[in-house]
Symmetry: C2
Subunit: 310 residues, 2 copies
């Protein structure tokens, strides 16, 4: 049986939000741990982790980073759902083509397994069913989602042709410590930062858009389970299994911070589907995983972490 | 209502097997007809068609070719199921990225509709159900199939974002006049050519591999129906709805030619699924199309055409 302590891991995108949390989750518990990325936003967070600096587009840098590993966590995506649509060719180039180089390197070096972070919020497009199961139709409304889907297909192909194992986690909207607060991503971090610094909170649309928010510790746990799982299933939705509106998040942020918030509404984006909520029963049944952190608790933890850094 | 005589068409890949047949099918019946391609294997076949010479990778050449058209038939694919797996990056580059340039040009020029020839034999991978319906799972075992699928997703995205109409035909194995007989494609043309020139016929595997063979005139009819159809459906399987083994084809070739054939068996390829057979009931019901030519008749017609050219 595969055990955590035997894993030789490399985390691609280790310097980013999910990557940092995964590295911290694995550090000291696995046989070896390397992290690869363009930069470390929080260098102190990865102390003791074997760091490889490089761009995902440099295939030799990637090949060096994965040397000696058996498990590759692929967390890199160079675009956001909104930015990918602006230049779709660049999106395919910088995500699909680079991943093909990675998969070639994995095959050539005899890597055992790739655990890929796909996107539960975009691969299904406008969902036919809610909560959305893994076998739902996949017609993304962003190039981001198409690139993720295409990479999923290539993982399947490399397994078929070369025996490279893969597990795909279609992840909901993760949030928590180490998330970079930007306008288009990480709405909880962005809203919290505005709240704690007395800035107005800008909400896209009327705030009724619903998303499936997952605390990042729960995601790190799912990534570990996917690395260890020895059955035949390959694709898992990873989310809270529920959904919350932006207005509900703002309410929770008000409660967590005790502040009166200045909320302002803006126009709707074309990449926004009204509701995203994943059916996570397969991951619960097959991986014996569950999203343990409720949104209220998660927002408090994130607020506490952020407060110390402002 | 849209009528054939009002269509201003451009056929991308007009110099190839399906393209020639489509041009000949449309010529004189549509408002205007242009064909674009790298070369014309049979220049005399396209007399009277407005020919644009160019490579699909040259976006300016494509933009010029589609100027003034309302309907773009996209028949270009630069690889074969077998060759695509050898260099997957080149496959994505030369098919997906180039198609994205085409779609940008179509959007910019206000093209009404793209009719895309996808691949019924590869997008479903190893089919879960036979005959395979359009909503079956799509996990290709060749990069060729993944590229086709990815282009399908981008057609949907361009429709969602920009209103560009699209119809996708997932086409079975077409055969008939003007097919180039090569080792890895067009098995009926290749076998017929061997038979008529007294060469041995080389069969991959034991000859029990079954495929869905579609006479190219029936395909040209389906492409026309897809260009005219005004309903909401976008994806159609286009095949004979039945399947035949290589051994059955060889028998039909023997009957059509009256020759005793020298058949030799070879190894199996990884890209071969044992059976491919499309459920074409949706095209029959929705497009009011049907595959009218039986395999026996089609082989005789193809043999007659080929005999005159040897």
């Amino acid at each position: 049986m595969r055990t955590v302590s035997s894993l030789r891991c490399v985390v691609l995108g280790g310097g980013g939000f999910v990557g940092i949390n995964l590295c911290r989750h694995l550090a000291g518990r696995v046989a070896s741990l390397k992290a690869f990325g363009r930069r470390q936003a929080f260098p102190e967070a990865l102390e003791g982790v074997d760091w490889f600096n490089g761009d995902f587009a440099e295939s030799t840098a990637i090949a060096t980073a994965i040397e000696g590993a058996d498990t590759v966590f692929h967390l890199i995506h160079t675009t956001t759902p909104a930015s990918a649509n602006v230049d779709k060719i660049a999106d395919v180039r910088s995500n699909v083509l680079t991943t093909l180089s990675l998969l070639d390197a994995c095959r050539d070096q005899g890597i055992k397994r790739v655990v890929f972070v796909s996107s539960g919020g975009t691969v299904y497009g406008v969902p036919e069913r809610l909560p959305t199961p893994e076998d739902g139709p996949c017609w993304p409304i962003t190039s981001y989602g198409i690139s993720k889907l295409t990479i999923e297909r290539y993982l399947h192909l490399y397994n078929y042709l070369y025996g490279l194992e893969y597990k795909i986690l279609r992840v909901a909207n993760p949030y928590g410590p180490y998330q970079m607060a930007t306008k288009n991503q990480g709405v909880i971090a962005a809203f919290l930062k505005c709240a704690l610094t007395n800035q107005p909170i800008e909400v896209w649309g009327d705030g009724t858009v619903r998303r499936d928010y997952l605390y990042v510790d729960d995601l790190a746990g799912a990534l570990e389970k996917a690395a260890l799982y020895e059955g035949v299933e390959n694709i898992f939705n990873i989310g809270s299994g529920t959904s919350h509106s932006l207005n509900e998040i703002i309410e929770l942020i008000g409660e967590a911070t005790g502040l009166v918030l200045d909320v302002r509404n803006k126009g709707v984006r074309a990449v926004d589907v009204p509701v995203s909520q994943l059916d996570v029963s397969k991951a619960q049944n097959v991986l014996d995983w569950s999203p343990g952190t409720g949104l209220g608790d998660g927002v408090v933890k994130t607020a506490n972490w952020l407060r110390e850094r402002l």
